[in-house]
Amino acid sequence: MILYLLRRMFLLAFVFIALSIFAFSLGYLFPGEPLQNFTGLRHISAEQLPLLQQEYRMEQGYIAQYLAYLGRIFSGNWALSFSSQQPLLQEMQMLMPATLELASYALLISFFIGIPIGIIAAIKPEGTLSKLISAVAVAGYSIPVFWWALLLIMLFSLALGWLPTAGRIGVLYEINHVTGFMLPDILLSGTAHRQEAMLNALRHLLLPTIVLATFPTTVMIRFTRDAMLDVWEQSYIKTARAKGLNRGQVLYRHALRNALLPVIRQIGLQFSTLITLAMITEVIFSWPGIGRWLIDSIYQRNYPAIQAGLLVISTLVITVNMLTEILHTVFNPLARKR
């Protein structure tokens, strides 16, 4: 197990080095002056130029420049954003929680709805209910996320007027940025209208979460169903049945535990898809998260921001992936042998 962890850590380090090299080389790949892309300064005056060149080691080779880049990444001295001329790290720290909040609620929904439905669909694979679930699942992961979002907006916001279309909370409420997660922040804030604020935030949250959760939930339904059907044909299930356990006991003690193992792994894979879908969802619902910020940065040709956003999002995705894989190995001794 320790050996396995060490190997994973080694792989993780390797991946991060590769990723940082890629992010570094973007400074050269993007149009414009590399020094501007690295510093994020729009206009570099003649007096600043030699100082900056020395600090960024632009006179020396690529390796020295890369090491200087790594040093800046770890010391938190990131570049400035082209558009706002603010430090990028701080800017992203403000935006990240909004995305994580949205993504984690969607992920939770995909578990608590997707897995039970998947199990129900696996009970009678040829039954009407199972076929209906499968049909809905196929439709769910075929639907383009932006169109689905627009349909829901047209129905619930424009036609019925039930739910707001944009933002995280109504402009009337002033919630201080403590954790960055809206719901805990409301609980922590001392305003008198805490309950109304909570309701308002939930109403804002509802549509984006549903939109974002659609894809992972339907994938989860299908995945759980397939895993259950696979496990249900194994010989240890037959043994358990032969021992005299009833269906429920077999399901809980043998089938479920084995079928849910690959599902753990699915979290990591789902997470990366979720972040991408979150980017589109954020654009549509004007959700002030990192995805919308990154896409705005592309429109504005804000190269330092794209570079930093790529580094942060990929690091996040890879870390989550690696953690779920380790978790999977902890639960599944068979996976350790490889």
Binding site: A139, P144, Y299
Partner: protein, 298 residues
């Protein structure tokens, strides 16, 4: 009972493709998906011939014409016109060429490149393949749309750059899948037997590996096709892919977003088409997967 039969089942005497089709055609949903897929494919090929109007012709006497089922609509313009007076129906027909046609080209390109790289990786052993694997693992963890967005950010927006970006973004999963499939085949006893007969690498590849993995290749391609269609449409919608005048479905939705109050049809119908196209690909993919599984079980 004295009847002598060479094969236990007559079905097994048929070619694998026939067996596959037999299992495939049992599922109505899969056949319906295939039909839809063929329609979209033909549309992508011939849409300029059958579109009733020029999709780029701006008719300033007919701005924002409502669809023909409403009272102000004209029957010549089934879905009405957009804010520049272009016929929406013709634009949607031509859009099949952009969204669906380019998705097919992208997948084919990625498939060919993936086949090359995957074969090289699958046939080689040792440190080289280990490093290759790790690089692939990295690329696989970054989702295709994010990778495409990054590549578009480097190359700049545009349909051609989107095509390259999605092709590159799809590549890792192809290489990974093909490499695994080949490695699996190389472990089979019949490969060893064939090698003992004196077959070289190329013969093993073309006579044994290819016939055995094409089923998986097709499956991979259908999965990639649905991803590619969704990604092209999403990039077009975000304004990073196909640019304004072109009739890509996602771009049409993005363009008519500000008209969502006046002309909801111009948002609803292109989205429906994307949905149908992806659905058809997914249905075919699912049908193919089930059929392949059943065929192997028999």
């Amino acid at each position: 009972m004295a009847k002598f039969r060479l094969l236990p089942d007559e079905q097994l005497a048929r070619s694998p493709v026939r067996q596959l089709w037999r299992e495939f055609s049992r599922h109505h949903s899969a056949v319906a998906g295939l039909l839809l897929f063929i329609i979209f494919f033909l549309l992508a090929l011939m849409s300029p011939l059958i579109s009733p109007h020029d999709p780029y012709l701006q008719n300033d006497t007919l701005l924002l014409l409502p669809p023909s089922w409403s009272e102000q609509g004209l029957v010549q313009y089934p879905f009405g016109t957009d804010d520049l007076g272009r016929d929406l129906f013709s634009r949607l027909l031509v859009g099949a060429r952009y969204t669906f046609g380019i998705a097919i080209i992208t997948v084919l390109g990625a498939l060919i490149m993936g086949l090359l790289l995957g074969t090289l990786a699958g046939m080689s052993k040792g440190v080289k393949s280990s490093i290759f694997n790790h690089v692939l693992d990295l690329a696989l963890t970054i989702p295709s749309l994010l990778l495409a967005i990054i590549i578009v950010a480097i190359l700049g927006p545009g349909l051609q750059n989107t095509t390259w970006a999605i092709m590159l973004a799809l590549l890792p999963q192809f290489v990974h899948g093909i490499r695994n499939a080949i490695a699996e085949q190389l472990n089979q006893d019949y490969v060893v037997a064939y090698r003992l007969d004196g077959a070289n690498n190329w013969q093993v590849f073309s006579r044994i590996i290819m016939p055995n993995i094409w089923e998986r290749l097709t499956l991979m391609a259908t999965m990639a096709l649905s991803t590619a269609t969704l990604d092209i449409a999403a990039l077009g919608f975000l304004g990073l892919g196909a640019q304004a005048p072109s009739a890509e479905w996602g771009a049409i939705i993005g363009d008519s977003l500000d008209l969502i109050y006046i002309a909801p049809v111009s948002v609803a119908v292109p989205g429906l088409l994307i949905f149908m196209a992806v659905l058809s690909v997914n249905l075919v993919g699912d049908g193919l997967r089930n059929a392949a599984k059943k065929r192997r079980e028999n």
